[in-house]
């Protein structure tokens, strides 16, 4: 059964990411039988073009060190539209990155994000959108521009050809709320990553979205990421889709 972690990270000089290096990911890969990691590295606040290029250089280096094992997302800040579009074009077309990573600089329903979405449609690559619905007010206050499943659903209705991945179902607060919002947003995938391993999460996600819209991920919660899929009371074929087949298909759509 192929296992592709659709949501992983490595550290950079501005973000420690738990100290994760490409080497530590390879060690985890051996233990957890993970075939490939889709990685980004990012910075917080309002990263400048220099900063997001620095992040993408680090990911590119890791891709070159571990070809086929580390696949890269291009991280950009949509507020720098010209630079972001140029960076995406370069990283996807020339460097072979597999998608775009957006963090919490803007809600994804903000029009500033639309040109980025159009670019990913043109290149036929997914957007991994950091997301959550934090019911705890103190937590929510820390990320005022956090995209919710509602924002993602709105974006998907505006751009039905886009491939949007809602990040970390198990790391973005009320996951049941997210599933309810995304049921009809048919071009949205959900990654199952995050430290939350609430029993029933994967079964309910399968029931609401279908296994073909779920993507295995860890977001560096390694045992949690794998263990929740293993335990889910769903069929083996559905687990196969979630663990890797769905992501393989997404990667196969990329423009050559």
């Amino acid at each position: 059964m192929v296992r592709i972690d659709c949501h992983s990270h490595i550290k950079n000089k501005l973000w420690d990411a738990g100290g994760i290096t490409p080497e530590s990911l390879m060690e985890a890969a051996d233990k957890l039988e993970i075939d490939a990691f889709c990685c980004s590295t990012l910075t917080f606040g309002m990263p400048t073009p220099e900063e997001f290029k620095m992040c993408n250089d680090i990911v590119l280096k890791a891709m070159e060190e571990y070809p086929g094992k580390i696949l890269g997302y291009c991280f950009v800040n949509p507020g720098y539209q010209t630079e972001s579009l140029k960076e995406i074009e370069k990283r996807i077309v020339e460097d072979g990155m597999i998608g775009v990573k957006l963090y919490n600089q803007y809600r994804c329903s903000d029009p500033v994000v639309y040109p980025i979405v159009r670019k990913t449609i043109e290149l036929k690559v997914p957007i991994l959108q950091h997301a959550g619905y934090l019911t705890d007010q103190a937590e929510a206050a820390e990320q005022p521009n956090l995209s919710s499943a509602q924002d993602i659903a709105r974006l998907s209705f505006l751009f039905p050809e886009a491939m949007i991945i809602e990040a970390h179902l198990g790391g973005g607060g009320d996951w049941e709320w997210a599933l309810k919002n995304l049921r009809r947003a048919r071009n949205v995938y959900v990654d199952t990553s995050g430290s939350v391993v609430d029993m029933g999460m994967i079964e309910k996600a399968t029931k609401y979205l279908g296994a073909e819209r779920l993507l295995f991920g860890t977001d560096l919660s390694m045992e949690e990421g794998v263990g929740k899929i293993i335990d889910a009371r769903i069929g083996d074929e559905e687990k196969q889709l979630i663990f890797g087949e769905n992501m393989s298909r997404i990667l196969g759509r990329r423009s050559r």
């Binding site: 937590e139 045992e223 335990d231």
Partner: protein, 253 residues
């Protein structure tokens, strides 16, 4: 042999659990090889009188012999806990599980200290979950706090003869809590691979103060099981964590 020190039975009012009864839990345990679950009542989190949940739990597990070890939930702020404690122990409960965040008290409140002192005199282990759910997505009626490590530290210092098993904790290795020999740690939220917190904890407190637990049925079991299976330790250490320590703490030998 595997003993799950962090298991529950009953309803969780904020989300429908896939397994609520003893029969359903045994089914889950059998699928992954858990022999014994140390359980307390989830109903007792919100019952005004938690004792009602204790006896519901006993009724539920009565046909499953040694598959379950029951822990009594008591609220030291609610009248009659002394009698309830006697009743519970007389009816086969093997220890206590406290939910201070749902019963609205601090571990260092006088009433709580009195309860834990009494339990310690009776050689009972007291387990305390730091939390029962991730707060980021909490239900709007669920305002329970995460128990602070410092609060547990103060309790451990005030009652050195107590035996406290801290459930759902993490990031403890760099805290003063590790110095207290009367505190044990359940590992389900600690990483085995990246960061290696479980290994660091073993190095810090010894393998005799770490116990296996999953949080079932609030949480899936396999994430916690994977953490022990992938731990770079010898079989003797793993055995201690998987069941020997729990067995000693609960007097199951």
């Amino acid at each position: 042999m595997i003993i799950d020190f962090n298991a529950y039975l009953g309803h969780w009012l904020f989300r429908r659990l896939p397994a609520r009864s003893a029969a359903e839990l045994v089914d889950l345990m059998d699928k992954v090889g858990i022999d014994v679950a140390v359980v307390s009542s989830l109903n007792s989190t919100l019952y005004a009188d938690p004792q009602e949940g204790n006896f519901e739990l006993l009724e539920d597990i009565k046909n499953y012999g040694r598959r379950f070890v029951p822990l009594a939930v008591l609220n030291p702020k609610y009248p009659g806990w002394e009698d309830d404690l006697e009743d519970c122990i007389g009816n086969g409960f093997k220890g206590l599980r406290l939910y201070p965040q749902y019963h609205n008290y601090m571990l260092t409140d006088d009433e709580c200290l009195k309860l834990i002192s009494k339990a310690s005199d009776m050689k009972l282990t007291v387990s305390i979950p730091i939390r029962l759910r991730d707060g980021r997505g909490r239900h709007w009626m669920d305002s329970a706090r995460d128990v602070a490590i410092q609060e547990v530290e103060q309790l451990a210092a005030k009652l050195p003869n107590s035996r406290i098993v801290l459930l759902e904790s993490r990031d403890v290795v760099s805290t003063a809590l590790v110095k207290y020999g009367n505190v044990y740690f359940e590992m389900s939220r600690m990483a085995s691979i990246i960061g290696g917190e479980i290994k660091s904890l073993i190095q810090s407190v010894g393998a005799s103060r770490v116990v296996f637990g999953s949080g079932v049925p609030l949480k899936y079991i396999s994430p916690a099981l994977l953490k022990i299976r992938l731990l770079k330790e010898n079989e003797e250490v793993k055995e201690r964590i998987l069941w020997r320590n729990a067995s000693d703490l609960l007097g199951l030998n």
